[in-house]
């Protein structure tokens, strides 16, 4: 089983080091929490893992495959899904259509086949639709399949992004502050969903500010501060670490 690994990565913006010699790995079937104060480099690390920025130093690997120079689309094709801090949805399309976008990596039909509605293109569409419907019902959005994405409230948008990520048949999913702006009840639903993802064998990396939520569901936790790794280990260890408390968790 392949592990997703960021090895000794560094990233500078201008003169500032957003990340300095950070290593992190995500295993299939586990939840790895990533916490830290604002500006500690959490989202930057996500962006490096998913390929939006190139690393300045270090490497990104998926098992044996070196992804360091791989572009975003290649990583998606290899099963690395992600959500974004501010949901990036297609406002004019429906919930179902947005989710079906996630099935794109699995499609095989080219331009001509699509233009002429040949069987392979129609099959891509049908299987994408069926899979997306099932996922949406599973995630709890089955009542609003046809609603336009711009009409969704915040929680629905976040869950939709996760649904889209799942449509990709991911082996890993990187969640960027999925609990941001959610109510207690919604966080509960989110927890149950993320645990189901883990139990299905997906490797989950969660960047979060909601520390209770993260400690509750994570198998491992990594803390970042000012671009460097602070503490790494089981949730209880990290929670009790004096440095982590001083820098982030507070008195």
């Amino acid at each position: 089983m392949s592990v997703l690994v960021a090895q000794a990565v560094s990233k500078h913006f201008g003169g500032v080091a957003a990340l300095d010699d950070v290593s992190l790995d995500v295993r299939p079937g586990e939840i790895h929490g990533l916490i830290g104060p604002n500006g500690s480099g959490k989202t930057t690390l996500l962006n490096l893992l998913s390929g939006y920025y190139p690393v300045d130093d270090g490497s990104i690997k998926l098992g044996e495959i070196d992804l360091t120079a791989a572009r975003v689309q290649r990583r998606a094709a290899l099963g690395i899904a992600r959500t974004f801090q501010k949901p990036r949805l297609l406002a004019t399309l429906s919930v179902l259509d947005n989710t079906m976008l996630g099935c794109y990596p699995g499609t095989r039909a080219g331009f001509l086949e699509t233009a002429l509605a040949l069987p392979r293109a129609r099959r891509d569409y049908a299987s994408a639709r069926d899979r997306s419907v099932e996922i949406l019902h599973g995630i709890g959005l089955g009542q609003i399949l046809d609603r336009r994405a711009r009409l969704l409230d915040h929680a629905e948008q976040r869950f939709l992004e996760i649904a889209r990520g799942l449509a990709m048949k991911p082996t890993f999913i990187l969640l960027d502050e999925p609990a941001g702006g959610l109510t207690e009840a919604e966080i509960k639903a989110l927890s149950r969903i993320v645990l189901t993802l883990r139990d299905s064998g997906i490797g989950v990396l969660i960047v979060e500010h909601h520390t209770d939520f993260v400690f509750r569901i994570s198998d491992r936790v990594t803390t970042l501060n000012l671009g460097r790794m602070l503490k790494h280990g089981a949730p209880e260890e990290v929670r009790r670490d004096p440095e982590v408390i001083r820098v982030y968790l507070g008195a």
């Binding site: 939006y52 975003v72 293109a121 019902h137 599973g138 969903i193």
Partner: protein
């Protein structure tokens, strides 16, 4: 479902009306106008995929129209090539030029790309004036017609109608199947497109090349319809007209831009003062739409409904069905 059966019925009725049109128009001019709209639509349908779906703001497509027109005229008129073959050749040449134009410019940000297409249109105009031996320069060239039964106005109308229907069917496929969502992602959130494996540049280039093909075919039929082509026919304003029809009609759909095209072509015919004001009107209409209904008139109904929607339907909390979710995830497990 009744919704899709209604759609099929509506399309059937519209198709019947379109086919029967030559029999109930008042005069030749109206038939000519209808044929012109159908000819334009072949270009606009292809351009719609580029502008309305992938969000690339090409304002210079008139250049590709001109290339198609001249290609047809030179091949069929001066070298005696069969008009049908010449039309397909015009399409192929249009596609090639679209490809060559798109290759360097589709990587550029929006304004740069729009300016590149504008420059392209002006260059085509320049070259068609300058290359007198090829294009007849300012004097232009006479364009042959098609053989019977397409040599009558009615017959030619049906030929164009058939091509227009085919192109519409193709663009409907692109919109409806997976490419449609990928293109909208390119338009509205390139970040999301990439995150979902969409090959952004390759897709933009492919649809742009396709739009070059439709522009080339449209150019061939347009030239034959007008029976004479000069560089003056292919003004930048004409290219802008196609573009505005799409934006006013509504991006992200097919019916919208078609209605936009019909509206923009017919309004100056029906409302005389608009004819005098011409392109000013198109500019003003574009401005009004962009400021008031940016999604276009085609979406007017749904936009209004959303804005004046009564108190929202009672919100249901998101309640996942975990077993169903687990099954769905496992259904697609990678090997």
């Amino acid at each position: 479902m009744t919704d899709s059966r209604f759609r099929v019925a509506a399309i059937a009725v519209a198709a019947a009306a379109a086919i029967a049109l030559p029999f109930f128009v008042a005069d030749q001019y109206q038939l000519h106008l209808a044929t012109l709209i159908a000819t334009y639509w072949i270009l606009v349908a292809g351009l719609n995929v580029v502008v309305g779906f992938s969000g690339q703001l090409s304002i210079g497509h008139v250049g590709l129209l001109a290339i198609g027109s001249y290609a047809f005229t030179i091949l069929a008129g001066q070298h005696g090539v069969d008009p049908f073959i010449a039309t397909m050749a015009a399409g192929a040449i249009g596609a090639t030029c679209g490809f060559l134009l798109g290759l360097p410019s589709l990587r550029l940000p929006g304004f740069y790309f729009a300016m590149a297409t504008l420059a392209f249109a002006l260059i085509v105009g320049e070259l068609s004036l300058a290359e007198q031996d090829l294009t007849g320069g300012g004097a232009g060239l006479a364009v042959p017609g098609f053989p019977a039964p397409f040599d009558t106005p009615g017959g030619f109308y049906w030929l164009v109608l058939a091509m227009a229907a085919l192109v519409t069917w193709v663009t409907a496929n692109i919109a409806r199947l997976m490419w449609g969502r990928a293109l909208v992602a390119i338009r509205d959130s390139e970040v999301a497109a990439r995150a979902n494996g969409v090959p952004v540049f390759r897709m933009k280039l492919l649809v742009f090349t396709f739009s070059g093909f439709t522009a080339g075919v449209s150019g061939a039929l347009f030239a034959s319809l007008q029976t004479y082509v000069t560089p003056e026919t292919f003004t930048f304003e004409l290219g802008l007209f196609f573009f505005i029809a799409i934006v006013v009609g509504g991006r992200g759909g097919i019916l919208g831009p078609f209605l936009g095209l019909v509206l923009l072509t017919l309004l100056p015919e029906v409302v005389a003062p608009l004819a005098r004001v011409g392109n000013f009107f198109y500019g003003a209409l574009l401005l009004v739409v962009v400021l008031a209904v940016p999604e276009g008139i085609g979406h007017l109904v749904s936009t209004l409904r959303e804005r004046f929607r009564p108190i929202k339907v009672e919100k249901q909390p998101v309640s996942p069905d975990l077993t169903r979710l687990a099954t769905a995830i496992h259904a697609g497990k990678r090997g």
